[in-house]
Structure formats: C-alpha cells, structure tokens
C-alpha cells in the first residue's frame, strides 16, 4: 500500500438550496485517500457520505451546489484541481479514471438497453475501443470477470431480465470497463440479499487485488467496514468526526459518536453484552446545532461543545478525531 495520495479533499462544502431552507449537507470536510487502499465512509443516512463521494467528480445536481473547498485528484503524482475543470475535462475522468457503483443497480441501468450496450457505450465514449463489435467482445470478457454465468447470452439481456445480484455485478463490470484507478462504491450491497452481499464484497476485494484499484467504500454497516476497509472516516451530520486505520477505530474508538455506533451494532472485534441505540435523532441540517453537531446527543458534552466546532487533532499515528475531549482549548 503506497503512501501516495490519490484524492485530497480540503474543507469541502456542499449546500442544497431547497424551499425549506438551505441544507448544509456537507459543511467543511477534509480527508485524503491513498493509492491502493480501501477507504471507507461510514455514518447514518443523511450524514453526507454519498454527497461527498459524488462531489469528487462534481456530480452534484441542483438544488445542490459545491460552495467551497478544494478537491485534488493526483495523476502521476501531479495534483489536478477538480473544481476548476471544464465539463469536458471532468467527463473524461468520470468512468475512466474514477468510476462509480451506486446503491440501486436497477435504477442505474436504462431499461430500454441491453447490458452489453451499457458496457459498450462506456468504453466507446472514452476511446477504450473504437468499434461496437470489439466493444461487445470486451463486454463478454468483463461479464466473465465479474462471475456472471453464460456471459455470451447475458450480454444481450435487458436489465429486467437479471436478478439483483447479477445487475450489481453488471454495474461493477461497467465501472471497471475502462480500467479506472479509483472505484467509488456507494452502498453497493444495501439493495441486495445478505447472501448476495457477501458475494459482491468478495468480488470487489478480488477485483481490487487483481487490478490494483483504490476503493472508496461507502456504507452504514460497521460489519462491512470491519471486513473490507483499511482506513475509515466516520461522518456525522455533514462533518467528519473521526478518521483512522480500521483496527484502531474498532479497538480504540475516540469520538463519542463512534463509540456509540459500535455499541449499537454487533462488534466482531470485541465482546459486547448489550446493544444500545443512540439517544436522540439526527439533526436538522437547515438549522444544525451550533458548535459540535453531535453535542445534543453526546453524553460528554461540555459548554465549549455548544459554542465552537472542534478542530481535528491527531491522537495517535494516522488516527484523528474532531472532539473537544482531545483538542486542547
């Protein structure tokens, strides 16, 4: 695992201008992703993990807008400022160097076109192949790589003819068709049965190893985090509250939210007697709580937590946390 960064994000802000008010969905997020690793975003629904992942290639649609921050993508060691790229430049990166897999494979596929066509067009539009015949042949190969049986027939199938698991495999093959360097998987298993989930995760792990990918995995499932990830960022209400290597996060969770998360789900690395839900609810992002956004639900909240947003401090090597318990005032 190299220590060269492939993505560097500084103070990213994404706001949504809705009729109910301005939703500050992502409000100052900073992190790095290193080449070859599996990096996880974990958090509850609405914490901003999907939005952040989409912002990486400016995939934010109105009423959302990227209002601040810097996103750097490293190619051959040289940083590229994503936010300053033109439409055409970012189009060339999407699907070729940075690829996505979304939650719902059924929604991601156009019901009127075959799987083969989906794969083919992705390759043709990036110049990976120039003729359709070649594209379809490559498509069959790709389907084989993601372990879809009878790929020569499946290539001519329509999405509705495939099961959920197969659709997601097809989506993965689309994502890999142009040999990307970074694969962003946004809750790839949420819509699948548990048994299929394990298969898909195994597949991702295998492909990552074979092709030397960097994987950004977004999930709300701590079990998936434990199984797949090298480093984890824990998000809450549009902020990153803790970042670190996966084994440190699980054995030494620093932030009260991380600790509460681990207490609320079965922990594969520790023996737990009782599961406890986290008190309270996720805050309204139009009027978020001042200071640290977790303070209304935090058992250790001090007065400063209500006033000022905590800085991110490194408590041990590579393990950072944004909490006034650890940050000196």
């Amino acid at each position: 695992m190299g220590l060269r960064p492939i993505i560097e994000v500084k103070d990213l802000r994404v706001y949504f201008y809705t009729y109910a008010g301005v939703v500050k969905a992502v409000d100052g997020i900073s992190f790095e992703i290193y080449e070859g690793e599996t990096f996880c975003f974990v958090g509850e629904t609405g914490c901003g993990k999907s939005i952040t992942s989409r912002a990486l290639t400016k995939l934010i649609e109105p009423p959302g807008r990227i209002v601040g921050g810097k996103i750097l993508y490293y190619r051959d060691g040289k940083p590229i400022d994503i936010l300053s790229l033109s439409e055409e430049e970012i189009r060339k990166i999407r699907g070729k160097e940075i690829a996505y897999i979304f939650q719902d494979p059924a929604a991601a596929l156009d019901p009127l076109y075959t799987i083969g066509h989906h794969i083919g067009e992705t390759m043709i539009d990036h110049g990976t192949v120039s003729k359709w015949k070649e594209a379809l042949a490559r498509a069959v190969q790709l389907l084989r790589e993601v372990a879809i049986p009878a790929p020569e027939q499946r290539v001519k199938s329509y999405p509705h003819e495939l099961s959920g698991g197969m659709k997601q495999r097809a989506v993965i093959s689309i994502g890999l068709s142009n040999q990307p360097r970074l694969l962003i998987a946004d809750e790839p298993t949420s819509y699948l049965d548990v048994s299929v989930q394990a298969q898909i995760l195994d597949l991702l792990r295998e492909l990552k190893k074979k092709k030397g990918l960097t994987l950004l995995l977004i999930t709300h499932d701590m079990g998936v985090v434990a199984e797949m990830c090298d480093r984890v960022a824990v998000l809450y209400a549009g902020h990153i509250v803790e970042i670190g290597p996966v084994d440190r996060i699980f054995t030494n969770p620093l932030h009260p939210y991380t600790q509460a998360l681990l207490r609320a789900v079965p922990n594969p690395l520790k023996r737990v007697l009782r599961l406890e839900p986290i008190q309270g609810t996720v805050p309204n992002l139009v009027n978020p709580p001042p200071g640290c956004r977790f303070h209304p639900r935090c058992p250790y909240a001090k007065s400063i937590c209500r006033e000022e947003r905590p800085r991110m401090v490194e408590v041990e090597k590579g393990h950072k946390v944004a909490c006034w318990i650890y940050a000196a005032r």
């Binding site: 809705t18 009729y19 109105p62 009423p63």
Partner: protein, 358 residues
C-alpha cells in the same frame, strides 16, 4: 422581495383559516401543526411562481365575475338598444364604444357586455353543477371497480369503455338536443325547481323555461364526464390496493366500505384535486363548444352561443361579437389551467424538490 411579501400574506390567510378551524375543532389544530406548516410551504412555492399567481388571479376573476356578473351588468341580456331607442342604424351591429355599448351590440341591438356578464354566470354554474356530480359518480364507480376487481371490475370497465369509445361531443350534443324539451316540461311543472333555477342563473321568472337547453347541456355533461374519472380512480385504487396497509386493514376485519373511505380515498384525494382543478377549464370549453353547436336552440345567451350567433356577421366586419366572448372563454380556461399546473408542481414532491429557492 415581493415573494416574501406574498409569503406574509399567505401565512396570514392560513393562520386565519386555522383560527376558524380552531374555534370549531381545537384538537385538530394541535394534531396537525406539521400539516399546516406544509400548507404554508406549498403557498411559498406558489408565491414564487408568477405564472401560477397569474392563473390564480384569472381563475378567481372568473369565479367572481360569474357570481356578480348579472348584478353589475348595465342591462339585461335581452335588452335591446334598438327597441329602447328606436335608433336602428346606430345600434345595429354597433362597434364597441357606440353610445352606451362598451363592447358593441349584435344584430338585435343587444348589449354585448351585458350578455357576456350573464354568460359568465351560466359558465360558472355549469362548472359547479357538472364537476361534482361527474366526479362523484366516477369516484364511486372507480373505487368499487378497483377495490373489488373481478367481475364487478370487468363490468364497470366495459361500460366505461363504451362511453369512452363514444365521441364525447356527439354524445353530449345528442343528449342535449334530446333532453331539452323534457327538461322544459319538468321545469314548467315544478315551481320549486323553477325558483331555484331563477336564483342560480339570475333569470327573470318569465324566462325560466328558456334555460332548458343550457340545463340540458349540463345534464348531458354529467353523463359524459364520469367515465374519465371512473377510469382514473380505478387506476389509483389499484395502486393503493397493493399497499401493505390495505392488507393489514383487511386482516383486521375492516369492512370494504370502511377501507375504501378511510384508507384509499384519503390517499387519492390529493392528485384527484389537482385533476379537478385542471378539469375546470375543460368543462368551460366543452360547455362552450356544445352551446356553440346548439346555436339557435340556446335562448339565454352564453359565451359559446354568442360566438355562434355573431359568426354570421363576421363577413359584415362585426369582429367584436366573436372576439370578446371567445376571449372571455380563453382567459377563464387559461386561468384555471395555469393555476392547476402550478398546483400540480407544488404538490408533486419531486418537482417541489427541484425548485431552487434563494
């Protein structure tokens, strides 16, 4: 920002409404605070749609003029300048502005403005009398067909298909022509009905029999209007039926009637209301079209009949007899269509989401 100003106005209106409800049913107000907030947000969206607001103004204008029209008209609909003043040359097909006729006169010297104002009442009453009945029949049949399915569904849908395959205008026209004399008979023998119609259409008692053709149109439209709603509601009912809570209600032993009224109906009322609003324009147009085709049979002029009557004199250059009534129809329908459109955008959470607010 003028939108914010309108927001304050709409907020006050909603608060006033809530106050009234509070006096009658205070528990409702407490339970539905979130819903009231939703209404306020919906009106904010409306305030930001200039087209929707324009539509609202036109639509309300139609309603207001429909109500007060006969009372503010300078003359009665059968008043004739020629008969009153004897000045034939001056008042025969007089262009707008001649003497007292602001909008001109027709071949009998009748004041166009007054005719339009009375016609507004007929248009408005047509809408008020046609829509609720057509919708009621359609909703009932649609709910039954959709909920019970099977043979009942087949039967009701076949009947609906027959009506829908029938060219609607012809059906309505045939019915109108057929029913006119029957209706006149009923009115003549029913004092209560005659008084009711006089009040509703602002007629002179001696004239009440002449409303029969216009009334025939309304009744014909009852028959033509329900199949569309029956089919629509059936579709919506089928969608609702697949929801789990319906199965749950059934397993709890709720009667079919209760399920239909308490569970399915509330869920379809929203889109149904939007449909109704968009349908107001259709009623006005179809009623005008029928009145146009009935032509000479219409004795109490309404907008469609005025156009038909005036079209004969287009060759004489009497453009006002055609332009003004048609314009009235168009503005009324346009208003309701704009308003209905805006309403649909507001009530659909997807389009609501994509409106970027500043």
């Amino acid at each position: 920002m003028s939108a914010r100003l309108l927001d304050r106005v709409s907020d006050k209106l909603i608060d006033a409404l809530v106050a009234v409800i509070g006096r009658v049913r205070p528990e409702w107000v407490k339970k539905n605070a979130y819903r009231v907030k939703e209404w306020k947000l919906m009106l904010y969206a409306l305030n930001r749609s200039p087209i929707g607001l324009a539509g609202l103004v036109l639509a309300m204008g139609f309603v207001v003029i429909g109500i007060i029209g006969p009372y503010i008209a300078p003359h009665s609909y059968d008043f004739s300048y020629i008969a009153a003043t004897g000045e034939y040359q001056k008042y025969f097909l007089a262009p707008p502005g001649t003497g007292g006729a602001i909008l001109g006169t027709d071949d009998l010297g009748r004041d166009l403005l007054s005719q339009l104002l009375y016609g507004a009442r007929i248009s408005l009453m047509s809408v008020i009398l046609v829509l609720p009945v057509g919708i009621a029949i359609g909703v009932i049949l649609g709910l039954i067909a959709g909920y019970f399915g099977g043979l009942v569904d087949e039967l009701i849908m076949r009947i609906t298909d027959v009506f829908l395959a029938f060219p609607g205008l012809i059906l309505a026209l045939a019915l109108s022509a057929a029913l006119t004399s029957r209706i006149a008979y009923v009115i003549a023998h029913n004092q209560w009905l005659a008084s009711f119609l006089c009040a509703v259409f602002a007629l002179k008692p001696s004239d009440v029999l002449n409303i029969a053709p216009n009334l025939a149109i309304i009744i014909a439209l009852w028959i033509v209007w329900w199949p569309g709603y029956a089919r629509l509601v059936r579709g919506m009912t089928l969608q609702q039926k697949s929801n789990v809570f319906v199965m749950a209600a059934e397993s709890l032993g709720m009667s079919s009637f209760q399920i239909m009224v308490k569970h399915i109906l509330p869920n379809i009322i929203g889109p149904l209301l939007v449909f109704m609003t968009l349908d107001v324009g259709n009623v006005i147009l179809v009623q005008a079209g029928l009145s146009f085709l009935m032509g000479a049979q219409i004795k109490i002029p309404d907008w469609g009949a005025i156009v038909q009557h005036g079209s004969q004199y287009l060759v004489n250059g009497a453009w006002w007899l055609v332009i003004f009534p048609g314009l009235a129809i168009m503005l009324a329908v346009l208003g309701w269509n704009l308003f209905g459109d805006a309403l649909r955008d507001i009530l659909d959470p997807r389009t609501r989401r994509s409106i970027e607010f500043r």
